[in-house]
């Protein structure tokens, strides 16, 4: 078993344990059905294998590139404006009451 989330020093990482794929799914607020765990794990490992090519590249002192915007980003004036009114924003709410979003009770 090799699980890189718990050991970042291991190159060529794979996720081979049911609990690990589930652990990643928990981070993403997704569930994986028992019947799908094997398939998801296999596909996940196929994708991680694709990334191994990068381990051969020397990137010492290379500045990470977050965004291709070379120029300064134009900012608009910091003034209040209404782009969409409250009713417009609420029209797609799955459940609402008095213009508030309704969710299951979180405090008993």
């Amino acid at each position: 078993m090799v699980v890189s989330r718990f050991n970042p020093d291991l190159a060529g990482s794979t996720v081979t344990q049911t609990t690990t794929v589930r652990d990643v799914a928990d981070l993403a607020r997704l569930t994986i059905a028992d019947s799908d765990v094997g398939k998801v794990t296999e596909e996940f490992n196929q994708t991680l294998a694709l990334f191994e090519a990068l381990t051969t590249v020397s990137t010492d002192s290379v500045e990470p590139m977050v965004n291709p915007c070379m120029e300064s980003q134009p900012l608009r004036a910091d003034s209040v404006a209404t782009l969409v009114d409250r009713e417009g924003l609420m029209q797609n709410a799955p459940a609402s009451e008095q213009n508030y979003f309704l969710v299951p009770r979180v405090i008993d």
Binding site: R5, N7, S13, L30, L54, N67, P94, A95, V103, P104
Partner: protein, 488 residues
């Protein structure tokens, strides 16, 4: 009058001459959509009454003397652009009932130019895919062979334009999603420089690479429409404050002596031999036109796929965290508590490919994996961007294939997930580096279209558009149309 395969520029002339009205064009387009779309599934929502009203207003404006170049011309939007009053689904169950309360800037600008929106195009769910098979509303078909994919993610837009449902459709391109389907469907598609077109109201996939662009029959049409789409937007701080050239007025500028770099890595074993031959013939045509071909090297081409498939899912995982079943989008039935609401709404609302990428993104962004994967990919991204910059300091334009193969068959079970990701091997570099790039019809292989890719310098759209336009003046590949009507 048959106008199904007319260009934007051709329709503009016919409208100006009074040979046809916008209402007639719009009615004809809906007739064709009604005839062909049941088989193609390229258009997933439309509103004829609304379109006829817009066309009527355009005809009235023309009678009053208004003459915007795009006035009254029908078009389709990829269903990733927010459209007030029309569904905006991103081809996902998650947004199946979503109606945006505002228009995307691209939608606003094309409407202000007088274009008539017919409806919205199918796509891969949340733009994640290269075949348009991940759509919640079913796969879209390629009009050249309906047993084959149109490419993706803007597959519906490409299929619709190729089938003559509209002369123009918008697309978005994060790793090749305009260029690859344009190539597979035999149309012309342009991904502008990152920051050339506003992303406001365009549903986010990978924000550092997403860019909107036109998909049409010709480079001239792309130039006309890009002029209307492009330019600074106070609602998108990544949209560059750079003047927008009159692209169409530069199309006939000389290309004599233009240096066209041909990366040797683009002709690797990943490329189908027949596609390679078609591209080589098109490159020879560029040379006959007066361009100078120069062999160049982009040694990190193959690393682009690994880099992209770390960065894009990571950004997607963050962007798609907003779909939690609370404010908009799908909500599961009878949640027991808030955690259950999040988990089931997301698990039931997203399709398999989207969930796969969210999982990969959550993994590479997690604390223990961040440096090994996400940081590393961002460093390699800089190296790749630097390679492109170095090459583009020696040549004016880079040319090569848009996609390694022609359109593949639907439901191809022999293709693994990573095989599918390799479809993007030649297009991803321009997204990582933020460069403008387009696909131009460049031949047929086995009766299926092939696309030649042209990549320019940052904000160098004029260079690739004029090269593409003059190539299209000397070739007829862009004029070929599929023979779907034989069966109707």
């Amino acid at each position: 009058m048959t106008t199904s395969f007319e260009t934007v520029a051709g329709l503009r002339s016919k409208l100006a001459a009074g040979d046809v009205s916008s209402v007639e064009l719009t009615r004809d387009a809906f007739k064709r959509i009604s005839d062909l779309n049941p088989e193609l599934n390229a258009v997933i929502s439309s509103n004829e009454e609304r379109a006829i009203n817009a066309a009527t207003r355009a005809d009235e404006a023309r009678r009053e003397g208004h003459g915007s170049p795009l006035l009254g011309i029908p078009m389709l939007h990829k269903d990733i652009f927010c459209t007030q009053g029309l569904p905006t689904t991103c081809a996902s169950k998650m947004l199946a009932d979503f109606v945006a309360p505002y228009d995307a800037t691209v939608v606003t600008r094309l409407a202000q130019a007088g274009m008539v929106t017919l409806g919205k195009c199918n796509m891969d769910e949340f733009a994640m895919g290269s075949s348009n098979e991940t759509s919640h509303f079913g796969a879209c078909k390629n009009p050249w062979d309906t047993s084959r994919v149109p490419g993706g993610s803007s597959g519906g837009s490409a299929s619709a334009v190729a089938a003559g449902l509209a002369p123009l459709a918008t697309g978005t391109d994060t790793g090749g999603s305009i260029r690859q389907p344009a190539a597979l469907c035999g149309i012309t598609g342009l991904k502008p420089t990152y920051g050339r077109v506003s992303r406001y109201g365009m549903i986010a996939f990978a924000s550092s690479m997403d860019q909107a662009g036109p998909m049409a029959r010709t480079a001239e049409d792309c130039a006309l429409v890009l002029e209307a789409m492009a330019g600074a937007d106070p609602l998108d701080s990544t949209c560059a404050d750079q003047p927008v050239p009159y692209y169409a007025s530069h199309l006939t500028d000389t290309i004599e002596g233009m240096r066209v770099g041909v990366p040797k890595e683009f002709f690797s074993s990943d490329l189908n031999a027949d596609v390679a031959a078609a591209i080589q013939a098109s490159l020879a045509e560029l040379e006959h036109m007066g361009a100078k071909l120069v062999e160049v090297s982009l040694p990190s081409t193959s690393l682009g796929v690994s880099t992209y498939y770390i960065i894009a899912p990571a950004e997607a995982s963050a962007n798609l965290s907003r779909y939690d079943g609370v404010r908009y989008g799908y909500r599961c039935e009878n949640p027991t508590d808030l955690q259950d609401l999040y988990l089931r709404s997301r698990s039931e609302g997203f399709g398999d490919e989207v969930k796969r990428r969210i999982l990969v993104g959550a993994f590479t962004l997690s604390a223990a994996s961040y440096d090994q994967y996400f940081m590393k990919a961002q460093q390699v991204r800089r190296l790749i961007a630097q390679e492109y910059e170095d090459v583009l300091s020696q040549v004016d334009v880079i040319a090569g294939p848009s996609a390694p193969n022609t359109a593949f068959v639907l439901n191809d079970t022999s293709k693994s997930i990573t095989d599918m990701y390799m479809e993007d091997v030649f297009t991803i570099g321009a997204n990582l580096a933020g460069l403008p790039a387009m696909s131009v019809p460049a031949g047929l292989v086995g009766g299926l279209p092939v696309g030649m890719q042209l990549i320019g310098r940052r904000f160098g759209e004029v260079d690739i558009l004029k090269l593409a336009h003059q190539f299209q003046l000397r070739t007829t590949w862009h004029s070929l149309t599929p023979s779907m009507e034989d069966s109707h």
